[in-house]
Amino acid sequence: MPMSMRSQLLKGVLEGCILAVIERETVYGYELSKKLQEYQLEVSEGSIYPILLRLQKDEFIYGKMEKSPNGPNRKYYYITEKGQEALKEFMHNWEAIKTPVDQLMRRVNL
């Protein structure tokens, strides 16, 4: 698969996953990458930042600098109403595509 296609596909999916994490709880960047790793999503940690920027530009999330319990100021992310809508749409699309893709891939003998 060409690199750009792989990264495009991954970015779209990762966007949905990041929205899903932020919808459940507010997190800061490092914390978010840990959460994704807990779900065995193998992405380089740095790749979350361009996505976080894009989600902010689209007004799906917003960041706020706040004091963290153990010291320094951190930028915590919150989901917006628009973000919740986008997450619903992602879930809908994902449900629709998940089963057919799975079935197709199961037939591949490589």
């Binding site: 490092y30 361009p50 320094p72 951190r74």
Partner: protein, 228 residues
């Protein structure tokens, strides 16, 4: 948090990085900060966030390349591509500040030069001839050249950031940009005749005007800092 507070914080925390991580991070920092079309506060917030993450990763014994990839320039461009543009009023403030500082320094410098030349070394005149028409044209042209010069320097620095240029090449390129800008400046002024109403002012006037303009610039800087 204001941009300036974030910058101070960044300066403190950066000292905790290992040498290799620091080099990589600082290249990225220079590159992102030189992208002046982006909102200053957003840039500083992002830099702060990346630094925090890098510090945590460092504690875990991870390499900076594992975090941000092997190609820092590509990663930085990816980040920049997703960042909002600075608001027009922020850009206007920056433009105003640069313009005022430029004229303030030119006035103070030429005023000091003429005053010292006359009163200390007995060269030149006590009074200075000013032609209003050509003075206005010269001001506009020199401002344009100054901005082109600044643009060239910033573009050069961005281009050079992730390259390990040797000292000689680095010096040569910077020298070239300087000589070309100064050359254009010199040629234009040498051949521009004086025109418009003529005034005679004491040579130290431009020092006073420069200092006043400098104070205005400082005011703009302070006010701007409150909003960014």
């Amino acid at each position: 948090m204001k941009a300036q507070e974030l910058i101070d914080l960044n300066n403190q925390k950066r000292e905790l990085l290992t040498e290799e991580n620091k080099k990589y991070y600082e290249d990225m920092l220079i590159y992102l900060r030189l992208s002046f079309q982006k909102s200053e506060r957003e840039t500083e917030e992002l830099l702060n966030e990346l630094l925090d993450h890098l510090l945590e990763a460092q504690e875990e014994g991870k390499d900076v390349k594992e975090l941000f990839g092997d190609n820092p320039k590509q990663y930085a461009n990816e980040l920049l591509g997703e960042m909002p543009k600075a608001m027009t009023k922020d850009m206007f403030g920056l433009f105003l500040l640069a313009t005022v500082s430029f004229f303030a320094s030119v006035l103070i410098f030429t005023g000091l030069f003429n005053t010292i030349a006359y009163y200390v070394f007995g060269k030149g005149n006590e009074m200075q001839e000013v032609f209003l028409g050509s003075a206005i044209v010269e001001s506009i042209v020199s401002l344009v050249i100054a901005f082109l010069f600044l643009y060239a320097v910033i573009s050069y620095l961005k281009w050079a950031t992730f390259k390990n240029l040797n000292k000689f090449l680095d010096f040569f390129y910077t020298w070239l940009i300087g000589v070309v800008s100064f050359g254009i400046y010199f040629v234009l002024f040498y051949f521009l005749p004086g025109f418009g109403p003529r005034f005679e002012i004491p040579i130290y006037t431009s020092i006073i005007a420069g200092v006043l303009l400098g104070l205005v610039g400082y005011g703009i800087y302070k006010v701007r800092g409150k909003f960014i």
